[in-house]
Each structure stands twice: as structure tokens, then as C-alpha cells.
Amino acid sequence: MRILIVGGGTGGTIVANNLARRLSAEIRNRKVRLTMLSASDRHMYQPGLLYVAFGQMTPDQLYRDQRGLLEPNIDFHVDPVEKFQLDKNQVTTKSGKTYEYDILVIATGSRIVPETVPGLAEGAETFYTEATAVKMFKRLREFEGGRIAVVVGVPHKCPIAPVELIFSMHDYFKARGIRDKVSIKYHYPIGRMHTIENVAKWAKPEFDRMGIEIETLFNVKEVDAEHKVVRSEEGTETQYDLLIAIPPHKGMEVIEDNNLGMGGWIPTDRFKLTMKDRDNVYVLGDTTNLPVSKTGSAAHFEAEVVSENIASIIKIGTPVRDYDGKVYCFIEAGHDRATYAMFNYQNPPDLKPATKPMHWFKTAYNQMYWTSVRGLL
């Protein structure tokens, strides 16, 4: 039984390690072979990028060696997949090798595509990659006052990021003593200031308290980097001195190139997490087309379900449980306080007031993340 995992991010790593532990006997007896293919030899803790953008973490602290995070009985190769031949149960990689599988897990994640909005890449700062996060910190550091505009593309990973960004910016300029010289305008694409109703209810008074201007129903159409203007589909425009964008996202190019899903989002069963019409292919994390938050936490809970089911299929012939839509996200609310949003398909998120201990929990989790991807937490 050959299990192939494509993608070495949060979801892929947790599935691989969980399976390696559950099936350690079968792997030792060569009944099962567990292989992982990734495009990188490093594993990045993506939530750390916001810290990098505000000078609270250095880029090296974002990464760990991927091989070191994996159980020794996993066959790991840094060799990205280029062709998926699902009818033949095989994939072909950049190095030209072909890997056959009995069960495939696709966890390739998502990427930013600022180039799909004219002028966005040239005119806006962002913190969704290492390079752009470092550049954004330098721009923030040089900024002595003026108008900052924040715009949000759809879809994007980490739905809470726009709100956390504002809290971080407010605290940052306050600490520098120039908050009164900076005006911040927040733009959001739908008719309220955040897609989660309870977050919008909680955040609006906080934004008012911090003196943040809000424009809702602002869908970014184009950026005129030369004149420093960002325009919306709705016909409005905002002048800025510094533009920060959360760019729109797509699934990885290889997914679109192989026609696995429009926009790189693979059609997936929301409970079984199998690919549509293919029971031996599991999909998890950002690359599914599920209406579930594109977050590490969703990938984590999905990975737990997928690994349990693959192991049970091998041991007793059937899967054992469904994904219930569970997501658990920290929300940093500035001033060393945080809260969290927890929800699933049945229960909406219900926010508690932000507290210091919750902020410490998030700080602790930045470290505990590495233990959790090893399958120990």
C-alpha cells in the first residue's frame, strides 16, 4: 500500500506524521510505504509573517528544516510534482521521476496573485511572503506620517488578518509616538467590516476607539501606483501615502495546470475530504474548494480526520469519522490582548472579550506549533 503526500505545509506534515505513527508497524513490515513530496526543504510558520512585518520576529525564526520535523520512517523528497495523472494513480515530478500511489493526499496550499489586480503588485505593500513582509517593515519604519490605506482581496488565507493588521498598526505607531500623525483607512469588500458577523460586531467599536476610518463594499479594481490612488469596482477611490494590501489568492499553479480545479481549488467532499469522484485522493488545507476558512487550523483538523481515516481504511477497511468543519483561530487584538474564534459546520463563532492570558496562549502557540506539526499535540 503506497501512500503519497504532496505538499509539506501544515496539513501535509501533520497527515504524514500521524500516519507514520499510526502505521509504524505496517511500515516496518513493508506493508505500507509512506512518501512525501515537497517543493521546499524548509517548513514555514506562516502566522509569523505578520510579526515580521512589524519587526517582532526575524525571518529566520519562521523556518525549520522539514526533514527534521518528519518521522524517520517517512520517505521525504524535495521534488515538486509537475504532472498529476490521477487516472493512472501516479504523479510525475520536476526531476522526471514518476511516483505511483494507492492513496494520494494533496495538500499543496495556496499563493497570492496580486498581479490579477492592475497596479497592486507595484503600488501596495503586503506581508504574505517573507520578502514582502520584510519590505513592509522597512516601509513602516520609514513612515513618518500620512494616510495609510488597507485593502482586502478575495479570496485570501487567514480571514482574520485584516483586523489583526489594523490592531498591530495602531499599536506600532502609538509605540513610536506618531499615531496622531497617521490616518488609517480600512476598506472591506462586503457590506460590513468583517465577513464573520460576531467579529464585525466586536471589532467595529474597537476600530472606532482607535480612530480607524472604514469603507465597506470596496472591491479593489485597480491601483494607480504613480498617483497613489486605489479604485473600487463600485466607483469610489481612496488617495494614500502608503497602501497595504491583502492580495487575492489562488491555489498552486500545478493544480490549475493539471485541471484539478478552477482557480487551483480542488472540488472536495466537505465531510469525507475526498476529491470529487475520486475516493482514493484526499484533499486538505487551502487547496480545497470548500467554503471553509483557509487557515492552518482548518488544515490541522482536516489532517487529523484524513490520517485517522486512511489508517482505519488500511487496518479495518473503512473510514471512521467525518470532518465537522472545525476551525480555531487566535485573534490578536492589540495591547497584548487576544481572543479567539472557534466554530464548525453546526456552530457559529462566538467571541469572548480579549484578555492577556489568551495573548500568552497565542505567544506560546507560536512555539508549540512545531510540536503540533510533529503530531505530538
Binding site: D336, K356, T363, A364, Y365, Q367, M368, W370, T371, L376
Partner: protein, 140 residues
């Protein structure tokens, strides 16, 4: 749902109240002292600790070794070995180096302690050899 019992303030002895206040002050002080750095380091130590612990507990050899070490004979043996090496090193440092040859050999053989040692080493060798053969036969 909460379980709350009502207590009248004037029914609580003063010393208890004082202790409660001190405790609350302690908690506040701890909260004030707690910093991001402390949390970061504690969590880091905990995470690394868990990873190490996991590796150690899954090392079959280490776990079996710990079981063996738990036995009285194993402990006695290790203590005896350590004592022996210590005393031998003291004796050796006092004795002149061997000059070699039959005469020297005969002189060394005259020491009953040396002969006991040779006997012990031979016995150990005999049992070790037997055990190794057994392990080979059983596919060790």
C-alpha cells in the same frame, strides 16, 4: 451554567480575607511580571522537551536499558565495576611498569589477587561466548 455559593463577607474571618487579598496581589504581580519573552521561552522549552521525550520513549533500546538498570544485580555490577577500575588505577600508578619476559610473568602470577582476576575474566569470557552463540542461533 454556574455553581455559585453565596457567602456573607462579615462571616469570613479577617485572617482568611487577608490571605485572599495577598493571593490576589500575588496573581496580579505574576501577571505583570509575565512577559512575551517568558512565555516564548517557557513554551519553547516545553515544546522541545515534548519532542525529546517522545524520541526517548520510542527508543526501544533505551527503554529496555532502563528496565535492565532497574535490577539490583545490574546496579551492583556497575558499582563493583566502578570500584574495581578506581582501585586498579590507584595500584597501577604505584606499580613500576612491566619489563616483560617469563620472569616478570611468573612474578605477576604469584599475586593471588591477579590469579583471581584472571579466573574472573576467563569466566566472563566463557559466558559471553556462550551467550553470543545462543543469540546467533536465534537470529539475533
Amino acid at each position: 451554567m454556574t455553581t455559585q455559593t453565596e457567602v456573607r463577607l462579615d462571616a469570613i474571618p479577617t485572617e482568611d480575607l487577608q490571605r485572599l487579598v495577598e493571593f490576589a496581589q500575588l496573581v496580579t504581580a505574576a501577571r505583570d511580571a509575565m512577559s512575551d519573552e517568558i512565555v516564548h521561552r517557557l513554551a519553547g522549552a516545553f515544546s522541545e522537551g515534548m519532542t525529546l521525550l517522545d524520541r526517548l520513549t520510542r527508543n526501544e533500546g533505551l527503554m529496555r536499558l532502563l528496565q535492565v538498570l532497574d535490577r539490583q544485580e545490574s546496579q551492583n555490577f556497575l558499582i563493583a565495576l566502578s570500584d574495581a577500575i578506581h582501585r586498579s588505577s590507584q595500584e597501577i600508578s604505584a606499580a613500576p611498569p612491566a619489563v616483560g619476559g617469563i620472569g616478570c610473568t611468573l612474578r605477576v602470577m604469584r599475586d593471588p589477587g591477579i590469579l583471581e582476576g584472571l579466573r574472573l575474566m576467563s569466566l566472563i569470557g566463557k559466558h559471553l561466548s556462550h551467550s553470543l552463540r545462543e543469540q546467533h542461533h536465534h537470529g539475533g
